[in-house]
């Protein structure tokens, strides 16, 4: 018998809020997170893109100083979100009073797209400028992409496995697929799942710009992320982390936890089409949607809301529409779509985690967040996009999806059900 899985805790640190309540309130209000960067390196390296969405609360304001010295920025952000989610779920750590989990049945599934890129590049600068002796011994554990998963497992005392999905911008949702797999296998009862990214560094900024992936709307950062809009010209780099506590319904009920929603299903597929360009026919994305619905035991008509991948690139938004159209057909007109990257920017490996947090909140609060900057909707994507005011989702039992797609041809979809 398939074990039913539920979400019992949420955490996030993003450009539009350093916690879930602030993120949620801003996502309903419509709040652009992108700003002109004030770092001297923007001018020094003459970056073609001069803005991004930095987290609204610096991790150093939340974490103890010695902790931050042992964590890359990406791990710092992940740790902030993970601790929020853990506390929100009413769980404590082994060193705290009242700890009563079996640590061998607690796991971590924490994703990233790039990992410790700041540490890697800072260390390279140190080596060149000051020699090998000055390269710090923490360099390796800080730059490795599993650094966040490892550090979080240590913090929570999770001994049931600490896994890291790395699938570019699909990573955050793939982390939920990994969590679901671990829980359905029956090896563990609780998984802290999520994703993190901290890549607002001159090299990734230059590299994404070189790919022509970033918006160049330097004169108006707040209007730069505009999924589905006719005048979209690229995504806006963001940073942050999202975390969700996923556990078996049985385990959650036994400890009297509050339940936000059900993690009903998840799926990943790969395009095998092109290393960066999405398959124009979106066959891989369509398969991921179908598999996620199958995994959730959901009918097409159960789905009322989609938090779309929708990054605001000229080529990326359309295939997702085609995938949704091919899977849902006429029912698509009954589904409201939120493109929350219009507010947060694109958090790469954290995007799917933060957007899953928003999808779960939408089901719990029965309201879908808004999409901003949609001044002229591209007629080739006639979706029912939520703009202006949040959309009421109604009282009935329903399913919402969170889509994430990544370079490499990765497609990941998570399906949540009201509980």
């Amino acid at each position: 018998m398939t074990r039913r899985l539920v979400i019992t805790g949420l955490g996030a640190t993003t450009p539009i809020g350093g916690d879930v309540d602030t993120l949620w309130a801003n996502s309903l209000a419509g709040t652009p997170g992108a700003k002109t960067l004030e770092h001297d390196w923007v001018e020094k390296y003459e970056l073609p893109v001069t803005f991004a969405g930095e987290v609204s609360v610096e991790p150093a304001e939340v974490l103890a100083k010695p902790e931050t010295r042992r964590m890359d920025r990406s791990t710092q952000l992940g740790m902030v979100a993970a601790r929020q989610a853990w506390a929100d779920a009413g769980l404590v750590r082994p060193k705290d009073e009242g700890y009563d989990l079996d640590p061998e049945r607690v796991a971590v599934s924490f994703a990233t797209g790039i990992g410790g890129v700041w540490t890697l590049l800072d260390s390279w600068d140190t080596l060149r400028e000051r020699g090998p002796r000055r390269v710090m011994p923490m360099t390796v554990p800080m730059l490795m992409p599993n650094g966040a998963a490892g550090a979080i497992s240590l913090d929570l005392g999770a001994q049931g496995g600490a896994r890291t999905a790395v699938s570019a911008c699909a990573s955050g949702v793939e982390a939920l697929d990994v969590a679901l797999e671990m829980l359905r296998k029956g090896d563990v009862d609780v998984v802290l799942a999520g994703g993190t990214e901290a890549a607002i560094h001159p090299l990734p900024m230059a590299a994404f710009a070189s790919l022509q992936a970033l918006s160049k709307r330097n004169d108006d950062p707040a209007a730069a992320s505009r999924p589905y809009d006719r005048d979209r010209d690229g995504f806006v780099m963001g940073e942050g982390a999202g975390a969700l506590v996923v556990e078996t319904e049985e385990h959650a009920k036994a400890r009297g936890a509050k339940i936000y929603a059900e993690l009903a299903g998840a799926a990943v597929t790969s395009d095998a089409h092109h290393i960066t360009a999405p398959d124009p026919e979106a066959l891989g994305a369509s398969r991921a949607l179908r598999r996620a619905l199958e995994s959730a035991g959901a009918d097409l008509s159960d789905v009322t809301h989609v938090n779309a991948h929708a990054t605001s690139t000229p080529v990326g938004d359309k295939p997702e529409y085609y995938a949704l159209k091919s899977v849902f057909g006429d029912h698509l007109e009954n589904i409201c779509v939120s493109a929350t990257k219009s507010q947060t920017g694109h958090l790469l490996g954290a995007a799917g985690a933060v957007e899953s947090v928003l999808t779960v909140k939408a089901l719990r609060e029965r309201r879908a967040p808004v999409t901003i900057n949609l001044d002229h909707q591209d007629p080739e994507m006639p979706l029912d996009v939520v703009t202006g005011t949040p959309r009421e989702l109604g009282d009935k039992q329903q399913v919402a999806l969170c889509n994430s797609f990544g370079f490499g041809g990765h497609n990941a979809v998570a399906a949540f059900r009201t509980y």
Partner: protein
Amino acid sequence: MADKNEILAGLAEIVNEETGLEVEEVQSDKSFTEDLDIDSISMMTIVVNAEEKFDVKIPDEEVKNLTTVGDAVDFIANAQG
């Protein structure tokens, strides 16, 4: 050139920066591992920072002999000559 009190104070700052321990806790008779709970990674970081701060070389094979804070202060003072 610094006297041993100055070295101790400088070392305490480095330890504080790395571990968050209060500078007052970093006394000559304290063992890095037993008393201050400093692991090998932090120890290497402290050593490298001390080399820069006091302009000395502390060879890797010497680090294991630096049991107490006082051992490190003495080594640095001698190395500065």
